[in-house]
């Protein structure tokens, strides 16, 4: 069998009529025609490979871009923002010369196909984004969504995902400090595996993805490049260029956390010696992405010799090398006189490093293979000038009926026995039950800086040992609320994460998001997306917390059925001294329990409506961002001044969920009374936003009340920390042992 001649730029110019498999690679006809127009000729196979991956939905945000612009346009002014949207991750000033970078990304589709590797490489990818900014990764968080807890496939997907996150993150030495686990039948064929990471650096260590300075060397380092993670390239390779090759390669990448750990240490050592001009990790679209982004963000062009890329499989074609998503690789731009030292550090850590090219003074990205030029493009056209779609969107015709199906009309418990039974039913339901079976598979101690970890309201990491400076992160999202009203749902996700950060005593600073939706080609889904983005951008503006970056995951649907719109929002906060943090657990008997905020009859999308009635309808809780801001200020002040000893945000499951969690964690019970103006049912199960439960030492009661009164935050005394049971006066008593069995037994029974 003879090899087809190398498809060089020259060859492409001479053979304009050669048919290329653009459709198989996922390009639309007009997109392909645009490539031809840009180049003034047909693309080579290698160029087609690059454009097709870089112009994919995943890399180009072509459907979401027009909406995402609002995050920039409506961005509130923030002195804390050092690097905003567009880089590998946003960077926030947390004071004392420290900067923190954080980001949340999705790895949904791979995790359904191959749960362990899909989830593991999700962690690997987000961590490389963090190191690419110049920061040492200090923690990870994992917001997860699975199908129904009792569905047989959940037992395949969940343990694999959890083991993959643990297997990778634990091996990297990153404490897992937060996240969520939510079950809903809507995620049955489309689990959501979002992964977030935080990194810490000094201000002067911020690095950006750009290749500047003609003559500077481009160094590829980390794992060898293999055939994993290639989607369309196999088609390209087997159909067009060489029939004799192995045709189908796995589309899910395989991770090696040990290699990544070495990559982290060697990258940080290179940063420390100031050897790096620009840096980019190799994630989606691999070398295509790294070379085109580095080149287009810099001042010059770039020339790369693909033959120099270390390969795991010597039969790979140049197109495959460009598209491979092999994990644990990074690309650095280094001045020529520093190359030797850079390579020395890589050698110290047993990391393979190879000079594969250099920055030129031109403006083209040129890639060579076997002496022939196979790519000659303006890198901007690959990295930034992808197609932009104004996809049609329309409020779905079922939305009115859904909102009219009011949850306040559902049958409520009529007797004390019913009320008690529903409390047990709620706290033992899969979504409200303890997730410790899952979180105990993650290391939350490593690095020795973990102040708070799940099931606390937010994870908290000490940044400076001497001063106690720390950062907190919370991730939240409620797909049920967003289904009822995507605009409000996105705002409620932000409100909850913002509140969770404040509950632990930290001041919310900035936002990252992971927007998980169905197909953008469905106008109803596109409307949900547009509404959610508009809601989130508006709320971020009002709360003064800019979006610093994030990720969009579309096509989360099976057939015509999309997942609930699921915007997951991460809020990062700062605390001056972690010694002032407020935990969830009740600390001391006799302390007074106060409910902060207003409690209304709001049950639309609530956990109660799901658990007791399997119902989703009506409207989600009312959003009040000014109230959220006031509540946060009170919680932060009270924590700083030592007025509260424990605090818990109220969200899904309402007050009773919070009381039970605080009681079980503190191993102390509570006696509650129904305050005037409320009924027992509403008190326990309402999900009104802008609320928190706090425990106050008696000596601080007056001062706390005065502060809330002066600032206009409604507070209600609802009970006292006491005994070894949770009692609602005149209604029921549940011992902590009973509650523990209900709350902690569910998940192991389903999954262990």
């Amino acid at each position: 069998m003879s090899r087809t001649p190398l498809d060089t730029v020259e060859h492409a110019a001479e053979t304009p009529d050669v048919e290329l498999p653009w459709a198989e690679l996922g390009l639309k006809k007009d997109e392909y025609e645009k490539v031809v127009e840009i180049l003034g000729r047909r693309p080579t196979g290698a160029e087609l490979a690059m454009y097709s991956v870089m112009w994919s939905e995943h890399c180009s945000y072509k459907s979401s871009k027009v909406h995402l612009r609002q995050f920039g346009e409506k961005a509130p002014h923030s002195d804390a923002l050092l690097v905003g949207i567009g880089e590998n991750a946003g960077v926030v000033d947390v004071g004392q010369g420290y900067a923190v970078t954080f980001k949340v990304e999705s790895h949904n589709h791979p995790s359904y196909v191959e749960p362990y590797q899909g989830a593991a490489t999700g962690v690997g990818g987000i961590v490389r984004d963090i190191i690419a900014m110049g920061a040492r990764p200090v923690a990870v968080v994992d917001p997860l969504r699975f199908g129904a807890a009792d569905h047989p496939d959940t037992k395949r997907v969940l343990p694999g995902v959890v083991a993959g996150i643990g297997g990778y993150g634990n091996c990297l030495g990153l404490p897992n400090i937060g996240g969520e686990v939510v079950f809903d039948a809507c995620y049955q064929g489309n689990p959501l595996v979002n992964a977030g990471a935080i990194g810490v650096m000094r201000h002067e260590d911020i690095h950006l993805a750009k290749a500047s300075g003609a003559g500077n060397k481009v160094i590829l380092y980390g794992a060898r490049t293999g055939g994993d993670g290639i989607g369309g390239a196999s088609i390209l390779a087997s159909e067009t260029f060489d029939d004799a090759k192995p045709s189908k390669r796995p589309a899910v990448q395989v991770g090696d956390p040990f290699q990544e750990k070495l990559l982290i240490e060697c990258t940080l050592e290179a940063f420390k010696e100031k050897l790096v001009v620009g840096i980019q990790d190799l994630g989606a679209a691999g070398l295509s992405c790294a070379t085109s982004e580095l080149a287009s963000n810099g001042s010059g062009g770039m020339r790369v010799t693909l033959d120099d890329v270390p390969l795991r499989d010597s039969t790979l074609s140049p197109e495959e090398i460009l598209m491979s998503e092999s994990q644990e690789r990074m690309c650095a731009v280094v001045e020529p006189e520093k190359v030797d030292r850079f390579l020395e550090i890589c050698d110290k850590w047993d990391v393979i490093a190879t000079v594969i090219g250099e920055v030129t003074d031109g403006d083209r990205l040129e890639i060579f293979w076997h002496g022939g030029k196979i790519v000659d493009v303006d890198p901007r056209t690959v990295a930034h000038d992808g197609p932009v779609y104004e996809r049609p969107y329309a409020r779905p015709d079922w939305q009115d009926a859904l909102q009219a199906d009011d949850a306040n009309k559902l049958a409520r418990p009529t007797t004390s026995e019913d009320l008690k039974a529903q409390v047990v039913q709620l706290v033992s339901s899969p979504n409200q039950a303890s997730k410790s079976w899952i979180t105990s598979q993650y290391d939350h101690f490593v690095q020795g800086n973990t102040v708070l970890a799940q099931p606390e309201d937010s994870g908290m990491i000490r940044v400076d040992e001497a001063t106690g400076l720390g950062v907190a992160i919370a991730t939240d999202g409620n797909g049920r609320y967003a289904k009822l009203d995507p605009y409000a749902g996105a705002q409620l996700a932000l409100s909850e994460a913002y509140r969770n950060v404040a509950t632990t005593g930290a001041k919310p600073l900035a936002v990252s998001d992971c927007l998980n939706f169905g197909s953008p080609e469905d106008p109803a889904v596109m409307w949900q997306f547009a509404e959610a983005v508009r809601g989130l951008a508006d709320a971020c503006q009002q709360l003064g917390t800019p979006v610093t970056g994030g990720n969009v995951s579309l096509y989360n649907q099976t057939g015509d059925v999309a997942i609930h719109p699921t915007p997951v929002v991460a809020v990062l906060g700062v605390i001056d001294d972690v010694a002032r943090r407020t935990p969830v657990a009740f600390q001391e008997e006799g302390q007074l329990l106060y409910l902060l905020g207003d409690t209304r009859e709001e049950f639309g999308g609530s956990a109660w409506s799901q658990v007791v009635h399997d119902h989703l309808g009506g409207l989600p809780p009312k959003v009040d961002l000014e109230r959220e801001r006031l509540l946060a200020e009170i919680l932060i002040s009270a924590s700083r001044d030592g007025m509260i000893d424990s605090a818990h945000d109220l969200s899904d499951g309402g007050l009773i969920q919070a009381v039970v969690e605080s009681a079980l964690l503190g191993e102390k019970g509570a006696r509650l009374v129904v305050p005037d103006g409320l009924d027992a049912f509403t008190l326990l199960f309402s999900e009104s936003a802008g609320r928190a439960l706090v425990a106050i030492p008696r000596s601080e009661e007056l001062r706390f009340n005065d502060m809330c009164g002066a600032r206009g935050l409604p507070v209600t005394r609802i009970g006292v920390v006491d005994g070894d049971s949770v009692e609602l006066q005149g209604e029921f008593t549940l011992t902590l042992a009973e509650l523990r069995e209900a709350h902690e037994g569910t998940i192991p029974a389903l999954l262990a």
Partner: protein, 226 residues
């Protein structure tokens, strides 16, 4: 004067910097040691920290045991150098035959991270003198391969000679034989355990207890008073 305690960094070590911090908090001077370097820099004691050295490839600790630094550690441990192996460090010590037995995968097949209750069984080693025999402490545990096993003869010998240094109490987290969490060699200078004392040295951090600090004050006192 204070003691200089070396902490070895292997490729894939994770708790090396945490261990250095614990040594510092105890009042001793931490000294970084590198796996490729035979030179122990004249330290007074060595800690092999937790992590996944060499990715746990082949078997946990199996490759690290052959690293240059271990040649020196093995040699000097035999002539009395105090050595503490934590988690992966314990695994390396068994692979190096400085301690008997071996570690298998947890009996439930999951990674487990929890605040673990232990009983100090032997308070006469270089690393446990600041505890009292029979004292119950809480130390974080986090591992995939923590199930201690040994043949019956070895177990009998460990028990008879009081060389079980720590035992799991209330809950055996990994199926270790005789609930063994840590052991010592006959001379008492080499100790290995699966739980992580370096994660229990500050009241605010991690488990929120300081039950692990006596490991580091024990060795410091021994070295300074020597």
């Amino acid at each position: 004067m204070t003691a200089r305690i070396g902490v070895v960094t292997f490729p894939g070590s994770l708790d090396d910097r945490d261990t250095q911090r614990a040594i510092r908090l105890a009042g001793a001077e931490p000294v970084a040691l590198w796996h490729k370097d035979k030179d122990l820099k004249q330290v007074d004691a060595v800690v092999l920290p937790g992590g996944f050295s060499y990715g746990d490839y082949l078997r946990a600790g199996a490759i690290s045991r052959f690293s240059p630094v271990m040649e020196s550690v093995i040699e000097q441990a035999k002539s009395g150098l105090p050595v503490l192996g934590i988690c992966n460090g314990f695994q390396i010590l068994t692979e190096a035959h400085l301690l008997p037995g071996a570690m298998l995968g947890n009996n439930h097949l999951h990674f487990i991270c929890r605040d673990q209750k232990l009983r100090v069984e032997n308070a006469d080693t270089a690393w446990t003198a600041d505890y009292e025999a029979g004292q119950e402490i809480h130390i974080p545990l986090k591992n995939m391969d923590g199930r201690y096993v040994a043949d019956q003869h070895t177990l009998d010998e460990l028990e008879a000679e009081g060389r079980v240094a720590f035992r799991y109490v209330d809950f055996n987290p990994n199926g270790s034989l005789n609930d063994i969490a840590g052991i010592t060699n006959a001379a008492g200078n080499v100790v290995g355990l699966m739980p992580h004392p370096e994660h229990a040295v500050e009241p605010l951090i991690g488990s929120g207890r300081t039950d692990g600090l006596p490991f580091f004050t024990s060795i410091l006192k021994k070295l300074v008073n020597a």
